[in-house]
Symmetry: C2
């Protein structure tokens, strides 16, 4: 067992003991055992515009043993804390699925009429996962810091030397393979770096291509892939590269609402898990593409500028000030490469930017009336910027999307030596 793991265990054990001593103290003082923790609900989630972060607000909840409505949750919380504690002292590395199984059992008791009743500690993993999240918030510790493992998809290569466990690993010496990021990225030590930026690629296959092409060597980049929707470890790893090594982070995804969302998970986090974001998000992450304007230019947007101008309180000037954009694709390339958007793409886009933008930009009246039922959606604040309104308006107007692979099919050289460098050097990203 490596010494970093031993230290992490000791830390986590210390925090657990300290935080749950409260209960002992309460009992000794003859008080009702009660846990007080921040409320993990949307209404208590605040978007901090200045720092571009989701934070938990000031609302707290109380969980008491002596309250019929809260007793079950109270017991679940203590059960989970004790299972995690046991795992820590026994040198175990549980997963959240494990923890679910470890705690799952029936408790038999007699109800007020003396009848024997059985109740399960929890039925579904959803329930035990939610308890783990409560503990993270209550203790202000990420589950990874309690050595709870999970599957991990993220990979990295580049001029970066790290220490993980007892090994020193040179991430520029991975051959054609790559280094799989560990599930506890806070235990990684950065030893040496020679890079100018981090390029995060949504798709593993594109990562493979750029890696094989020698992109990261040529452009002194740290190349990372999240292999789709990023997991927590990949997000935390990228955040640490940004925060500790002061490397700017650029995110490359498909040109579709799903890709935009992946960027947003790296940058801001998930709105329902805001407490994670403080540690996992990279607020300064930049979206370099593939943008809708890279595919279509922005003429179609300029046509509707007058209509869109009042959306989200923008003035025509704010939107009109956007630099004109020429597409990277010719008319015929576009014809061969773009894909029709699916219903779920359109719905995701409305979620991101809000119903009002969709309503102004969608051309088909049939689709517009269909979207009427999404009227309540106001969009995420960080997508209500002139640049993103333009992007999503073009999406609504064209109802098309484009995969990064289409850019690569113009030649890997085009993607690696023209598209990405010109976007970065030209400052042509969305912040």
């Amino acid at each position: 067992m490596s010494s970093v793991d031993v230290r992490a265990r000791m830390n986590a054990i210390g925090v657990l003991k300290e935080k749950f001593k409260i209960i002992l103290d309460q009992i000794q003082r003859g008080e009702k055992p009660t846990l007080v923790m921040p409320k993990r609900v949307l209404s208590n989630t605040i978007y901090d515009e200045k720092n571009k972060m989701l934070l938990l607000g000031p609302d707290v909840l109380r969980r008491s043993l002596i309250d019929v409505n809260e007793a079950r949750k109270f017991m679940q919380t203590l059960l989970m804390a004790s299972i995690i504690y046991e795992a820590l002292v026994n040198n175990e590395y549980p997963t959240i699925r494990d923890l679910y199984y470890r705690g799952k059992h029936s408790i038999g008791y007699r109800d007020v009429d003396g009848k024997l009743v059985h109740e399960n500690t929890w039925d579904e993993q959803k329930e035990s996962d939610s308890v783990i999240r409560d503990l993270e918030v209550f203790m202000n510790v990420l589950r990874e810091e309690m050595l709870i493992l999970s599957k991990e998809k993220g990979k990295v290569v580049g001029n970066l030397v790290i220490k993980s466990g007892d090994d020193t690993i040179d991430l520029s010496k991975m051959g054609h393979g790559a280094y799989s990021i560990e599930p506890t990225p806070d235990l990684v030590e950065f030893k040496d770096v020679d890079a100018e930026y981090v390029l995060v690629v949504e798709k593993d296959a594109v990562f493979q291509q750029l890696h094989r092409y020698g992109f990261w060597r040529k452009y002194r980049a740290i190349l990372v892939t999240s292999a789709g929707q990023p997991d927590r470890a990949t997000r935390r790893f990228v955040r640490r590269l940004n925060e500790e090594l002061k490397l700017p982070v650029y995110v490359l995804t498909d040109s579709d609402p799903y890709g935009f969302y992946i960027y947003s998970v790296f940058k801001i986090g998930s709105i329902t898990l805001s407490y994670e974001s403080e540690r996992l998000a990279t607020p300064s992450a930049r979206f370099i593409g593939v943008s809708m304007t890279d595919v279509f230019g922005d003429e179609v947007f300029r046509e509707v500028l007058d209509e869109v101008k009042e959306v989200g309180g923008f003035t025509k000037t704010a939107l009109g000030k956007l630099k004109k954009k020429k597409p990277y694709l010719s008319e015929s390339e576009r014809r061969n490469y773009v894909i029709k958007a699916k219903q779920r793409d359109i719905e995701r886009a409305v979620e991101l930017v809000g119903y009002d933008v969709a309503d102004k930009c969608v051309e088909s009246s049939e689709l517009r009336s269909k979207l009427k039922k999404k009227e309540g959606l106001t969009g995420y604040p960080w997508f209500r910027t002139p640049n993103w309104v333009r992007e999503l308006c073009i999406f609504f107007k064209t109802l098309n999307k484009l995969e990064i692979e289409a850019m690569a099919s113009k030649g890997l050289k085009f993607l690696a030596d023209t598209y990405i460098p010109s976007k970065i050097e030209g400052g042509d990203w969305i912040d």
Copy 2:
């Protein structure tokens, strides 16, 4: 660019030129340009019992330019070959998605009535992928050998030193992370190994746990995960470990028909892609668990021995000779850990072992009559063995399944130091 890549390119270019010279020769001789290749269909797929392999049979198909029914496919094949050729000489690393985009365009021509008609080279990736498979069969070359990349989920750690690209990589020095297998595993060179076997774990999270626990160091294993359904590169990598380093391969999956199927993909391959299996499958791979008998013992099976005995031509003796098995789980552990099988688990199980076994073992008459519509399914030959009939019969009788995580929740020590070693040392696997 690494020298192995250059060599691989030269090889692939050579094979392409040689194989397609046939067309030139045919034209020069005034013959109709025709490609002859093995038929990739189920009826031309043979299961070689002795070598435990799926092979393509002797049937061939002819694809001729001067045949209205074949002209389109003929042109697609030549188009794809030329795109791959271009990519090879231009030092590109396309993905199959790329190749789809690169070839996708409309061809305009005048039909017999002089009307201008447009036809797409291909519409969906399914179509271009099928053409790539044709080329693999026609040239007897895997797409990876033509430097066609793909996403890659497989990871490995252990006492193994490899050379990949220009780097020498010690897979015992990956810290808490792991080495991501490259998408062209044939270009990996094995330099040094100190291991007794390969343990392939279906689930990435379980791989993480065993890795962190130091399992591979303690038991001198090469630890691999396919992170779910294995991709081609992981299968080929495992096959090479087995074939070239003479290491026995053990596969650890969930105890459910899906897990059994993952094992079968490693061992035999996919019945519809039999041509790959010759290179990607590991016929000697052993299933160490989690087996149904590990969970339930085999008493429930012995109860129905008389009814099952004639299934698949087994005698009662053959089935009765199976060693008695005691479960690894107690009654109460079982109660907390097993999960109810879903409809799709049951259907997958019928696919694997055949309708007749299901019919004898399922207890509920309602379910039995529901399964009647699967009567045509005769099962895969490699699942029609006494051991697998017992496994799947127990599945049908209990309609329960179990995840590896449930085994780990008895303690990682139990999984790592008791379950896996006792299965391997005791020879308690299915071959």
